[in-house]
C-alpha cells in the first residue's frame, strides 16, 4: 500500500529488513551485524549498509560511528512521545485535508469506510488494522503537504506499526474507532477544518490512552 515495487536490490533488502523489524523477527534492541545480514539476505555488505541507512531514516535503527547499528528499543516513554507528535501532525493533516482534498478524494474516503464497515462487522481483526492504517494514510495524503506526507509516511508510520505489532495491540477499540473515523470523514466532507482537526486529535488521544492502560496492566 505504501511503497511502490522495489526496483533495486537495496530497495528489496530494505523492505525485507523493515518488515522483519516491525514484526519482531529481528528483535527490538538487537545488534545488526552487516556481514551476517549480507549472508542472510544474500547480498553484498554495501547493499546491507544502504538498507541500514534507510532504516535509520525511518527511525527504526540507530547507528554509531565505528560501532554499528541497533534496532531501536521500544519503551513506554518512546511510544507516548510518538503519539504526542502524531497528535500534532495528524491533527494538522486532517485540517489541511478538509480544505485540500478534492471531491473525488472525499468520496473515495467514504467508500473506504463503507468497505471497512463490512469487515468490522465481520470481526476480522487483521483487516481492521489494515483499514485503520489505510484511513489515516489517505488523510495524510489528502493534506497535499509534501513535507508532512514525507515526515509521516517515511518517518513515523513504520515505527508506529512496530509498536502496535510488538506491544500486541492489533485491532483494539474496533467499533469505537470506526465511529470516530466516520465522524472525521464527515467533518472533512463538510470542509470543517477546525472540527476535523479536533476530532483527529481526540481520536489519536483516545488511542493513546487505550494503549497506556494496556501498558500499565502488562
Amino acid at each position: 500500500m505504501f511503497d511502490e515495487n522495489p526496483v533495486t536490490s537495496a530497495d528489496k533488502t530494505f523492505m525485507d529488513m523493515r518488515n522483519a523489524i516491525v514484526e519482531g523477527r529481528i528483535a527490538a534492541g538487537a545488534k545488526l551485524n552487516e556481514a551476517e545480514l549480507s549472508t542472510t539476505y544474500e547480498v553484498s555488505r554495501a547493499v546491507v549498509r544502504e538498507a541500514i541507512n534507510r532504516l535509520e531514516t525511518c527511525h527504526l535503527v540507530e547507528r554509531k560511528p565505528n560501532v554499528g547499528a541497533r534496532v531501536v528499543q521500544l519503551t513506554k516513554q518512546g511510544l507516548l512521545q510518538i503519539y504526542q507528535v502524531r497528535e500534532s501532525l495528524e491533527g494538522m493533516a486532517a485540517r489541511l485535508a478538509a480544505s485540500n482534498m478534492s471531491d473525488q478524494d472525499v468520496s473515495d474516503l467514504k467508500a473506504l469506510l463503507d468497505n471497512h464497515k463490512q469487515t468490522v462487522e465481520g470481526g476480522e481483526s487483521y483487516y481492521q488494522e489494515a483499514g485503520d492504517v489505510d484511513f489515516h494514510y489517505r488523510i495524510i495524503l489528502g493534506s497535499k503537504n509534501q513535507q508532512l506526507i514525507s515526515l509521516l509516511v517515511n518517518g513515523l508510520y513504520h515505527l508506529i506499526r512496530m509498536y502496535r505489532v510488538q506491544f500486541g495491540m492489533a485491532g483494539p477499540r474496533v467499533s469505537t474507532a470506526f465511529d470516530e473515523h466516520k465522524n472525521i470523514a464527515m467533518a472533512i466532507a463538510n470542509r470543517d477544518e477546525e472540527l476535523a482537526e479536533m476530532l483527529m486529535r481526540r481520536h489519536i488521544m483516545y488511542s493513546r490512552r487505550n494503549i497506556e492502560s494496556k501498558l500499565v496492566e502488562g
Copy 2:
C-alpha cells in the same frame, strides 16, 4: 552548534556538501554526479553515496533509482508547506518546553536572550540569524521529546536554513522578532504551556507572512 565533530570521512563529506547546498554553492535543482563529487571532495564514491543518503534524509536532495540525486528545488509553495509544519511542530515544542525544561534550562535561555540583545543593538545581522536559530534550537531540545527533536533538527532545520539563505532573508524583522522571543521565554519561565504554544505559533506565522510579502515583491 548542531553537530558534533565529524568522526568518519563520510560525516565530513556530508557536512561539507550540506553547507555547500544550503549556501547555494551547489545550486538548487542541480544534479549530483557521484564521480565528479568524489574527485571534488577527494573521497571514494562509496563515501559520496553515503553522504548523499544522509542529505536525502534531511530532505535536501531527492534520489531516483538508477537515475541519480538532485538538490531539491526551492519553490514558494514548498516554503509555505514547511512553515505550516514548523508552526505545528515548534508550537508543540514550546508547549512541551514549558512543562519539561529544567530551571537551569530556563535560566540558560534567558542568558542567551540577554547576550542576543547586545548583538541586536549592535545591529550585526549574521549574529541575529545565528541567535534566532539558537533560540529555536534550545526550545526544541527543551521539549525533551526525542521524536520531535529528531524530526526538526535532523529533518527540517537545514532545509529551512537553505530557504532563508537563498531567498535572501537573513536578519529580517530583527527587533520585532527579538521581542517575540522574549515573550515566549517569559511564558516558558512561567510554565504557561498554552501561552507558550500560542506565542510560538504566532511568531512563526508572522515570520511566514513576512517572507510571503517579500516573495510577492521579488
